[in-house]
């Protein structure tokens, strides 16, 4: 029995109310490609940050070759031979390839910087592992994504890299680039290095990994030899035993007209790759349409198009039979599309403004509560007080900044405001993410109430429980394409497979 190269024993990490990792025990061996598989929020990224020294575990230890180590920072981890390639690259665009490499050396040059030496070292390493490196003197700003990733990998391996951690490396790559990457990973394995590879794509696990560890809700479900587990089994472990509750909103009512009709919608993605590819669906008044899927498969783009932040490259959006002609938030609101954005702090609230002011943060409300451009303060105060009472927003005063509220109360402010305008369509993304149980229930109840009053709701969520609990029909958004809707009773296993991107192979 050989000693594992890297081991975790009882590692836990907590962020506020969220237990990101709970008692993780895990072994990684030299000379293997080890995939970490799990849904968003399963704890994969936190696990890797702990290994890379970005985060320190609350409890538990990390063992390297059998002896305990503690990484105070990524640089310390790098000296121990652990390098990480983040999903979002950490290159400095204005510098050249060689300069970027020099910066990431375990002992960067202190005074005099000789890029030629670094370049020579880098190219020797690149040649050995069969990695095609961009010219050392080329500025990074001009490199395509694949070349940048190769540079990141080289950065992570610079010095005596024994462990390479990749966070969803194929998310930004074309299929050809991904094949190239896998070949490179196999070469690294052949040299006896350990490659840890975070993903939520079952096919990639099958294609490149030797072992797979499946995570769910901060814990390890199990580690398996890839040859001994089927894609179907992996999906089941990943999604867990979802017991689909009978949806709380009734069946599709085919008598009612479609309130929202989306047809052939395509849009460029945030990272320049395809975001949405021919998405069509329609939602009737009084219906919640769930869109499940793993983050990064077009969820963000769909939200942005529907609320007017992104112009689609083709396709149409009709609200109540009328086409949406301008894709601006103002036009979307005017057409009756309300929204609960995915990022409360960034997009839903102005944290430094008061609770009352945040309850007015909507074009329609401001219009209603003003007279020739003057705010009607008494009316605004009454309006805010009514909403605060109706939605049980707990605060010392409406004049307190929104920053002072708990996450649950902040979300209540957004929900109260958006529903006060009685939108014909409500677009909501992960509305209960990160909320305590009471607040999550209050938000869900509010969404159901507004649906019963005739609103058409689009629920985009990466939380399968949330989708299944609320929606009458569910589609899965994967790689920018929307599956045909599954209606209740929903086959959770089939849903899990669709989410893991196995649709094409099954």
């Amino acid at each position: 029995m050989t000693v594992p190269l890297l081991s975790l024993r009882g590692v836990s990490k907590r962020f506020g109310p969220v237990q990101a990792l709970s008692g993780v025990d895990l072994d990684f061996n030299a000379g293997e490609i080890h995939a970490i598989l799990g849904e968003n929020g399963a704890g994969k990224s936190t696990l890797m940050y702990v290994l890379d020294g970005v985060q320190r575990p609350d409890t538990g230890i990390i063992l390297m070759n059998g002896s305990a180590v503690a990484f105070a920072s990524p640089r310390v981890a790098r000296r121990a031979g652990i390098g990480m390639v983040h999903q979002h690259f950490t290159l400095i665009e204005a510098l050249t390839v060689a300069e970027n490499l020099a910066l990431s050396l375990p002992q960067p040059p202190r005074w005099r910087f000789d890029a030629t030496v670094t370049a020579a070292q880098a190219q020797a390493l690149a040649r050995r592992i069969g990695l095609e490196l961009a010219p050392p003197e080329a500025p990074v700003s001009g490199l395509p994504v694949g070349a940048r990733q190769r540079l990141e990998i080289l950065k992570a391996l610079a010095g005596a890299g024994r462990v390479l951690i990749l966070d969803e490396p194929t998310a930004v790559l074309t299929p050809q680039e991904a094949r190239h990457l896998f070949a490179m990973l196999r070469q690294l394995r052949a040299e006896g290095r350990l490659v840890i590879f975070i993903t939520h794509k079952l096919r990639e696990v099958k294609e490149v990994a030797d072992r797979v560890t499946i995570m769910r809700r901060g814990g390890v479900i199990g580690s398996y030899a890839v040859g001994a587990i089927s894609e179907r089994e992996m999906a089941e472990h990943m999604v867990g035993e979802v017991v689909p509750a009978p949806a709380r909103v009734g069946q599709r009512d085919h008598e009612r007209p479609a309130a929202l009709d989306v047809s052939g919608l395509s849009a460029r993605g945030a990272r320049g790759i395809d975001g949405l590819r021919g998405v069509s669906f329609s939602v009737r008044a009084g219906e919640i349409f769930g869109i499940a899927g793993v983050d990064g498969n077009g969820q963000r783009e769909l939200f942005e198009v529907l609320v007017g932040l992104r112009r689609p490259s083709c396709g149409t959006v009709h609200v109540g039979g009328r086409p949406l002609t301008a894709f601006t938030p103002r036009a979307a609101l005017a057409a009756g599309i309300g929204h609960i954005p995915p990022d409360r702090h960034h997009e839903g609230l102005v944290l430094s403004m008061t609770i009352e002011e945040n309850l007015l943060l909507h074009r329609g409300i401001l219009d209603r509560l003003s007279w020739h451009g003057l705010l009607r303060r008494a009316a605004a105060r009454r309006f805010a007080a009514d909403l605060a009472r109706q939605y049980a927003i707990q605060s010392a005063s409406l004049d307190a900044p929104a920053r002072s509220l708990s996450g649950g109360n902040q979300q209540r402010v957004i929900v109260a405001r958006e529903l006060a305008e009685r939108p014909a369509v409500l677009v909501t993304v992960n509305p209960t993410r990160g909320l305590d149980v009471a607040a999550a229930r209050a938000v869900a109840d509010a969404v159901i109430d507004v649906t019963c009053q005739g609103c058409a709701v689009v629920l985009i969520s990466t939380d399968l429980d949330e989708v299944l609990d609320l929606s009458a029909s569910v589609s899965v958004l994967s790689r920018g394409r929307l599956s045909t809707p599954l209606t209740t009773p929903i086959d959770a296993e089939r849903l899990g497979l669709l989410m893991a991107g196995a649709a094409e192979s099954s």
Partner: protein
């Protein structure tokens, strides 16, 4: 009102810190801090005449401080109040030597409108660059300051030089354009105009939809945009208003105090204004207080130099130290909300 008091705590603490540092400096230079500060105080508030001087010194700082407040609140970092002020002064000086035959109220009113338009137009260049070409307004407004300075330097030595041709300055403006004073003191109607501007800005920022939208756009442009606010229009409005206020400051100064334009017309009001705006926590009420305080320091400094033999530069040290303390206390908390 309670909230205002709480919001002013860091400002007051910064003042206390600045005076302590200055006291150490005065003592180290072999003078008595007590004597110096007493002289400073009586120089500012000792007589009706000195109070009038405080008001005169406060006026340009108040208007430019308001200019800073409105743009910073909307998240536009207008560092160009100095240039905008100079353009306002230039407009009045140019107009003033030609508008001899206009009735007084029309001439003066027209001059002030011109000053506001000139300042707004100068800021408008930065606004257009920002909205059309995404040029950072900090850079463009700073650069426009230099252009304004150079332009005035050229004009007062060339085309606009006084008829006698002795000094690099313009002719005196027509007396019809002189701002009414409360004789025998130098305090003038411009002070009232500046206070009205502060009241107007308060109403705009806190009582109107446009002001609400400006503040929301400044603190979180993404949330504002998603709420259907046309963020770009609000930034544009804030920068133009800012330029107009700074332009008014320059115009009033020409009309009420100097009566002509010359090189080094401004002792850096547009820059001190940033300190005034920040010290006043970017609120119009706070800016009134801060401008009055800075005005009093300026007015008292000469008396201090005469009576206590302490250089009037000490006042600049106090003003600068206040800002350093304030920035340290606040950790840049008036900046837009950080995005995770």
């Amino acid at each position: 009102m309670n909230r205002l008091v709480v919001r002013l705590v860091p400002s007051l603490a910064a003042l206390a810190g600045a005076f302590m540092v200055s006291a150490v400096i005065v003592a180290a230079s072999g003078n008595s801090p007590g004597t110096a500060f007493t002289a400073l105080l009586s120089g500012a508030f000792g007589s009706a005449d000195s109070l009038s001087e405080v008001a005169v010194k406060t006026c340009p700082l108040l208007l430019t401080g308001l200019a800073i407040a409105v743009s910073f609140q909307a998240g536009v970092w207008n560092i160009g109040a100095e240039g905008q002020l100079l353009m306002g002064a230039l407009a009045v000086a140019t107009f003033g030597v030609r508008a001899v035959h206009l009735p007084g109220w029309l001439g003066l009113g027209g001059a002030l409108v011109l000053a506001a338009v000139a300042g707004g137009a100068w800021a408008g260049i930065a606004a257009q660059l920002k909205l059309r070409r995404n040029v950072n307004e900090v850079i463009s407004t700073i650069m426009l300051n230099f252009i304004a300075l150079g332009l005035i330097s050229y004009l007062v030595q060339g085309p606009l030089m006084e008829a006698g041709g002795r000094y690099p300055q313009t002719d005196a403006i027509a007396s019809a354009l002189w701002m009414p004073r409360l004789a025998p003191y130098r305090i003038h109607l411009g002070v009232v105009i500046a206070l009205l501007a502060a009241a107007g800005l308060h109403v705009l920022l806190y009582r109107t939809v446009a002001g609400y939208e400006m503040r929301a756009s400044g603190l979180n442009p993404d949330a504002a945009r998603l709420a259907g606010i046309r963020v770009h229009r609000r930034l544009w409005l804030a920068l133009m208003l800012s330029g107009a206020l700074a332009g008014m400051a320059g115009g009033i100064e020409v009309s009420a105090v100097t009566r002509r334009l010359y090189e080094r017309f401004s002792p850096g009001w547009g820059f001190t204004a940033i300190a005034v705006g920040l010290l006043g926590r970017l609120s119009p009420t706070g800016v009134v207080i801060a401008a009055f305080f800075f005005g009093a320091l300026d007015a008292g400094s000469n008396a201090m130099q005469r009576a206590a033999g302490v250089s009037s530069v000490l006042v600049s040290i106090i003003q600068a130290t206040v800002i350093l303390f304030l920035v340290a206390f606040e950790r840049g908390r008036w900046l837009p909300e950080p995005h995770p």
